[in-house]
Symmetry: C2
């Protein structure tokens, strides 16, 4: 059956039908019951859970069940470093930091400076490592615990990971990884090995690993789930998010290679205002008169969706905005102005935290309690 | 044109025509002139050079020319660890140690505990690392300089090699490596990456690298020669040896998987005597009378070839043996007895050196002058 959208780890096209995607991918929907269980475990629900931005999972129900029985887990996420991060990139980090705060568990963040270098002919290793250092500041700014979070670059931590990596590699053939990772016989031999390095952190502890990520990343972890138990570890659990739509329209996902589609973490107030006013795709009517009469279509309106997905955490306020904008009481220019202010205050706070992060890099990478323990450990 | 032999990095079959092989592989013969140049550079020629056991090369002439101009080089060899080493395995190490002594240059010895593990379903990583430690004793016994030799295991030294390894990997596609390394789409993704780790040590110094090895290893280094200059390094020079024939016949090469074909470094006096007497393929005549009358065929006689290749360094003595045995003055039992004594005294001395090597492992791996410098260096 042909769909009007497609979701792979390297491309998201069209307007995604998330209910269908759950069926296609064979994941589980996050049910009301599961949300209640989570709320009863940690006392509250993050807005991204209340609003079903995180909407799908694998084995998150088992994680919660075992948690209630006194068994813990750990969190794992990562990033392929890039020249600059945009707002969409922050979603998994903000959510992972929240989970860490609520459960008090360890977080491992893999910075794949090797993968980024090997995937792109035009990048040098110096560049991807420079970006790694830069991106780490943004990641720390999401609010992780420096004694319970280990941030590591593959090119630095490889010694500690390699014995386990080759045990994983020995269980994965080229045929098995090529479709999932978009490889073929013209791929270089480094990027072919890389999937094993992505799997290693799911086995950093002999506990269940929970990976918060966009649902497009799910195929990568299926390989892990195929082999984990044969190596004496758990299948990786996941909690999947929808995609923050690009500024320019409700289809696909925000992309670094289309600058007007994204707000970067370094965009200043004026740039944010210009981008939102000029490019943000509107579900409002073409004239004030029509808008007053017919109201906006929230389903395709990007400013509304950004507020709903990320920037307006207050449920009362987002409800009021939805009512006023869809009824025509609020105009497109007004909701865009609300978004501009929300983005700018988020970015102001983010950049403050980012500056404070500079002194904390050494803790996350080398000297914090977890980091120290990790440098002493060879994963076998 | 079909040949009666075949030489690949993973199999040697038939009686090799070494002159033809030079043409097929596109290597250079070691000429009388080159031998004279080497002798004038270092004062003497190793028996393996005088007898053309080392018979072929790539760029060894350039190495010698540059040496005379005051430019140095370094040596690189390695080993995939195995349960026990046999006498054939010692040839490159004995010869490399001689080159080191004569030129006073650095030697790097890579122990591929990762490759051995990944290539063989039945081996555990613990096993291949245990064999690595054991084999290192035999290697040290060949007589390397502890301050100018660095012996390293891939699984330990990977951090220092990985940045350069991924730069190499980025230049090699699956298509390019698969034929050379005998891989296909059912190969595991670790062994596909491994060729880049084998190439890294050829770039440990910004000098020419000389690799002494069996000629069957030549194809591996062609990949290196294709990419080295684009990374700012030299094409690896090589000096190639013929194969010590298996005890059981003049064809193929000695194999660990056929125990009666090889003498192991741990074989005791009785075992050596039994193997040689029972299995050594003879070019002598079936009866004493015929032998006295017709003499032995040295071309197929394994005891003679082993003496010639390795065990009888004295040119006068080997000449006398050749004359007496081929003329029928010497009997098969007598040449076998000479070989048994030679092997046993080699093994006695080897095992003495091997015992002394135990205290030197830490120098070769970590604490010697070169080893210390190498652990401080990240290869980029």
């Amino acid at each position: 059956m042909a769909e009007n959208y497609s979701v792979t780890p390297w491309e998201v096209k069209g307007k995604v039908d998330y209910d269908k995607l759950i069926v296609q991918f064979g994941t589980q929907k996050i049910t009301d019951q599961l949300r209640r269980d989570l709320q009863s475990a940690v006392g509250e629900l993050h807005p991204m859970l209340r609003r079903e931005i995180f909407f799908s999972h694998r084995d998150f129900d088992i994680i919660l069940k075992e948690w209630k029985e006194g068994r813990s887990f750990f969190l794992y996420t990562g990033r392929a470093p890039s020249l600059g991060m945009h707002i969409g990139h922050m979603i998994p980090f903000v959510f992972t930091a929240w989970l860490q705060k609520k459960f008090g568990v360890n977080v491992y963040i893999e910075i794949t400076d090797d993968e980024k270098f090997m995937r792109n002919l035009e990048y040098s290793l110096d560049q991807t490592r420079q970006w790694a250092l830069d991106n780490i500041l943004d990641i720390i700014a999401a609010g992780f615990d420096p004694d319970k979070t280990f941030i590591f670059q593959d090119t630095e931590y490889i010694r500690n990971m390699y014995p386990l990596a080759i045990k994983i590699a020995k269980k994965l053939t080229f045929s098995e990884v090529k479709a999932t990772f978009g490889l073929d016989v013209s791929s270089n031999i480094g990027i072919i090995f890389y999937p094993s390095l992505q799997i290693v952190p799911t086995m950093f502890e002999k506990r269940r690993c929970l990976i918060p990520a966009g649902i497009d990343q799910d195929p990568y972890w299926r390989l892990q789930r195929d082999i984990a138990e044969s190596l004496g570890y758990y299948k990786a659990a996941q909690i999947h998010s929808k995609f923050l739509p690009p500024l320019t329209g409700p289809e696909g996902k925000m992309s670094s290679s289309v600058p007007e589609s994204a707000i970067y973490l370094i965009d200043d107030h004026k740039t944010v205002e210009r981008k939102v006013m000029k490019y943000a795709f509107s579900g409002g009517q073409p004239t004030v008169e029509l808008q007053r009469k017919l109201g906006a279509n929230l389903d395709v309106d990007v400013p509304y969706q950004w507020l709903y997905y990320f920037f307006e955490e207050d449920d009362q306020k987002i409800k009021r905005i939805a009512e006023e904008y869809s009824s025509g009481k609020m105009l497109t220019g007004e909701i865009k102005q609300i978004l501009v202010e929300k983005i700018n205050s988020f970015l102001d706070l983010h950049r403050e935290r980012r500056e404070r992060a500079r002194d904390m890099v050494k803790d996350f990478k080398y000297e914090g309690r977890l980091a120290r323990a990790m440098w002493e450990k060879i994963h076998e």
